[in-house]
Amino acid sequence: MTDEPGTTASVVRISGVDKQFTAGGRVVTTALSGIDLEIRRGEFVSLIGPSGCGKSTLLRLIGDLTTPSRGSVEVNGKPAHSARLGREYGMVFQAPVLFEWRTVEDNVKLPLELLGVPRAEREERAREMLHLVELDDFSRHHPYQLSGGMQQRVAIARALALQPAILLMDEPFGALDEMTRERMNGEVLRIWQQTGTTIVFVTHSIPEAVFLSTRVVVMSARPGRITKVVDVQLPHPRNDDTREDPRYFEVVTEVREALRAGGGLGGPAGLASEERLAAEGGIG
């Protein structure tokens, strides 16, 4: 996690970014407003906020799957667009998005094929990645033969196959049950520590965000803004004991309060401010 000499310490640099969605030339929604964020090499950063706060949009901006209306997004010192063309991303979505006609192994090989990696190296890399997510014995299975958690692990293996500079994860465990989710959290941490990959992780679970991250970015809804960045000073490696550590609860509380202050938890304060705005004609 230490910075190598001669490389930029920050992997992601977002400055002054607004994102508006327009229809017929008219601004319909302001999804993000005045976003500044820097993510350093090897960090694990979670984006958390109420639904509709633009956290997924922010992730997609970093991945150049959408473009900002204003401001700039740089990845590894170049525009996000160049980074995407340079295939510096690994993406994991909420659904595993595996191709059912490919075996587990061939799904992992997909990005390597797209990059034109020679066959022998593809085999080798796929094997390594499946070993990393502990699915060695399932390489010749088809996705439908795996459980949801296993499918998502295949998706993670695929995302890491190109050894990307940055791994973008959009609520990857949102569809899993609580038990599986906690196990997957442990897996992701282990992979993060083994590979040293920078991870940006979107979630709406406070415990998940705190357990995983080195920093939690708290966002407020419409227009999405960063209201607070919480440093998580919990020791590594984190495990089941971490979840029972009093310091863990302190950070969870801190994040929860930050969310509430931003109107994110729909508490009385948040509601009142929205109603007042509406009454003053501030909305619509």
Binding site: L65, F93, V97, L114, F138, S147, M150
Partner: protein
């Protein structure tokens, strides 16, 4: 396929032995076989009990005898007739499928093509085949098998075109997003996502198309052409009041259709073993 002692997830169910599988199959098909044999038996009984004349409905035994007697002898050699009709149907299937595929790829690729071609295709599909058959006979030559092939091709074209277009365009948006995150070219997306996605759609269309091609060929034959084809045998034997031969010819036509269909089913098992329709388990 099963890996050695998978530690987590769902292990594949143990594969039963060959004899056991045959037994299972037999039990599975038993009701269908029973109904089939029962209907034939009742039919035979009813004809004998009520002394129904062969002009109205011949007994199954009479149809069987006509099939054997006229197999390759007499005024209507049935085997040669079925072979010729099948040849026309296959020709039509190939022509219709090829054109259907070409149009589907064009329509899926260019929105302009969709707007230009789809209305015409829909209109062509609305033409009653009975009405167009004599015209095609005139265009391509009544005695030329090509005229029957073109009638079959017209019937085959539409389901192939519509289904393949759907398969090429109805791709999981997340899959496209994934490919975009890898900066994949349109060509790579076509090869690795759209075409495999369209395969099950294509095979479904082909199942319908095989039957349609036989219908097309036989309808074309009704409106004239060389004798020694199923359509002519039906017309001529019926007007000669040899309904046993008529029924035998119909039976042979149906048998060709079933054989045709089974070939596509086998093709399906070979090409898309991963698809829910072939696995025969949880769909979706």
């Amino acid at each position: 396929m099963t890996a050695a002692a998978p530690s987590v997830g769902v292990p594949l169910p143990p594969r039963p032995g060959r004899a056991a599988r045959l037994g299972q199959r037999f039990v599975y098909y038993l009701p269908a076989i029973a109904v089939f044999v029962g209907v034939i038996g009742l039919w035979e009984l009813a004809i004998r009990a009520f002394d129904v004349r062969a002009v109205i409905v011949p007994a199954p035994s009479a149809i069987g005898a006509a099939l054997v007697d006229n197999w390759d002898a007499g005024r209507w050699p049935l085997f040669a007739a079925a072979r010729t009709t099948l040849f026309e149907a296959v020709g039509g299937l190939v022509i219709g499928t090829t054109i259907g595929l070409v149009v589907a790829f064009a329509v899926a690729r260019w929105a302009n093509a969709r707007d230009a071609v789809l209305p015409v295709a829909v209109a062509a599909n609305a033409i009653p085949i009975i009405a167009i058959a004599p015209i095609f006979n005139a265009w391509f030559g009544t005695t030329n098998p090509l005229s029957k092939m073109m009638i079959a091709a017209l019937l085959v074209f539409f389901p192939v075109m519509i289904n393949v277009t759907r398969g090429l365009t109805q791709v999981d948006p997340a899959a496209l997003e994934l490919m975009r995150s890898y900066a994949a070219s349109e060509w790579a997306i076509l090869r690795k996502v759209r075409v495999p996605n369209a395969l099950p759609f294509f095979l479904t269309a082909l199942k319908v198309a095989t039957t349609l091609s036989l219908i097309g060929a036989i309808v074309g034959e009704y409106f004239g052409g060389a004798s020694g084809v199923i359509g002519r045998v039906v017309v001529q034997s019926a007007s000669a009041l040899r309904f046993d031969v008529t029924w035998a010819a119909i039976l042979l036509g149906a048998a060709s259709g079933i054989a045709f269909y089974l070939i596509v089913v086998a093709l399906e098992r070979w090409l898309i073993p991963w698809h829910a329709s072939v696995r025969g388990e949880e769909t979706g």
